[in-house]
Symmetry: C2
Subunit: 308 residues, 2 copies
């Protein structure tokens, strides 16, 4: 087990990226599963699957009544006055429709409760083997008809380079508040891709996030490396009805196609980070991204609330 | 059964579009199936399904050996010198990669033979209840990684307005030369949508095809009409391995999402029109589109060649 360690006052960059002239695919240095089957709701089988594939899905964590309440809250939030003017709101490149609202656990008490719900927090704690805190929270809307996709990327690559997250000890949790079909641009992942780390090519520009949250072009994989990962792992796409919960490892290669169907997609997205993996200075040397994208102020452990 | 008839020297426009200020969804005036189960390879069950859904798929019309030869020819054609400079070649908006090559039965003897293969021609004849000719032929490449989608549209709407095709008595045939998975931006159709005709809003610009073959914006359905069609018919997506053959009715609402997977998609695309439905002047009043997009010079019946 490797940890980022202090050396001459600096945290060692174990996952350099965007610095070499060629992309490089290397093995990850961190464990995938940090906890054990004896501490938490997941079985040994769950943990084995997560170790191998990098993701887990759950169909029935929430009741229909709960889901309806969360849907109503999402609808309310997206139609809120001035929502498009908020710094935490990202709009679609073409249509200007709301694509994401960040820092949602502060903006909405209802969604904040969902983010602290023990049914998800206990899974995150078990996977990361420690207390956890919110690295990022947001709600995503992928409009129907003209919803744009998102190109392949590893979240960890960006969180490491641009936010200073030292190690791979974070997990994303997506809670679907609309049906995810094969037609409406669902999340696609490359199973097993979380076990490699791809250092990408291209220097991070200043204020990269202002562009990359709409359309990422720096920090994305080159065609040859992506083909190699695909050759080894193929593609999987968790689809299912409203309420589908997907946990996926922070270094998983994932993306989505566009959505021309009339069916919008929306979800609540929570990034849990280990309290033993709090942010250092960004490894790209630039100033940190805004607090609402990468929490670096409050690392206090989440106090889970009982659900239902 | 309605036919476009001469009146004062003009063919009556039974399917006006792009002329009214509001979109309008009306019933089609033409039969869907023009032939009978006693004349051709399709069973009464096939014809009923085509009548209801507007499409039919076949898995095993061609042998693996035949498919490999056609794949090799497609590869040769896409890498041909000067291919991107040809008028008949359409490139991707962003990357400049080859997207389609039109009039392919003239350019390639190998693909020309496939277009005349009795295994597809006899099906087209049976569906259209007459001899058939080539309205359009092309090969399509949808590159991996950055393949763009195609928004919903009815081919007939364009063929009628911009090419002067009088009636709904044509059928498209797509022969896949790569696997069609749910992930790589496959054809999506709205079953049953061929039984309605949607007159769209917006005037046809001069030389519309120069833009619309990359990205169509005029002649596409409005959101409300599309939602209504989707509500009634849902979405279907013929997926399958190399060699999948899909026949779909000329007025079928169809489209595709983008393709970020490394898997390209390629197919041979043949539009058969009835010899009793040959082109009049474009109903939009503009000059006809080029010959390679809409054949108006040679309406001679296709002489089918025996396959295998």
């Amino acid at each position: 087990m490797s940890m980022a360690v202090e050396k001459h006052g600096h945290v060692i960059d174990r996952y350099p990226s965007r610095v070499e002239p060629e992309p490089r695919l290397k093995n990850r240095e961190d464990p995938v599963v940090w906890g054990s089957a004896t501490h938490g709701p997941l079985s040994a089988g769950h943990l084995e699957k997560y170790e191998r594939d990098g993701f887990l899905t759950f169909d029935n964590l929430f009741s229909e009544k709960e889901l309806r309440a969360y849907q109503a809250e999402l609808s309310r939030l997206s139609q809120g006055r001035n929502v498009k003017e908020r710094e935490e709101t990202i709009t679609e490149p073409g249509s200007g429709e709301v694509r994401s609202i960040f820092d949602i656990h502060h903006l909405s008490a209802v969604i904040g409760r969902l983010c602290r719900d023990e049914r998800v927090v206990m899974i995150a704690r078990q996977l990361l083997g420690s207390d956890v805190y919110f690295h990022q929270t947001r709600i995503n809307y992928k409009p129907g008809y003209r919803g744009t996709g998102f190109y392949w990327h590893s979240d960890f690559e960006t969180w490491h380079v641009e936010d200073g997250m030292p190690n791979m000890r974070a997990v994303s949790c997506s809670i679907s508040l609309s049906p995810n079909t094969e037609y409406n641009g669902p999340l696609m992942v490359i199973p097993g891709s979380h076990r490699k780390y791809l250092s990408t090519v291209g220097e991070t520009p200043e204020d990269h996030y202002k562009h990359s949250l709409q359309k990422q072009e720096i920090g994305v994989p080159d065609d040859a490396s992506l083909a190699q990962m695909f050759e080894e792992g193929g593609i999987a796409s968790p689809t299912g009805s409203t309420g589908l919960v997907t946990f996926f490892e922070c270094n998983m290669m994932h993306g989505s196609n566009s959505n021309i169907t009339p069916l919008p997609r929306s979800n609540v997205f929570i990034v849990f980070n280990s309290v033993e993996n709090t942010l250092a200075n960004p490894f790209c040397g630039l100033k940190p991204r805004p607090q609402f994208i990468a929490n670096r102020k409050g690392f206090q452990p989440i106090v889970a609330v009982s659900g239902g």
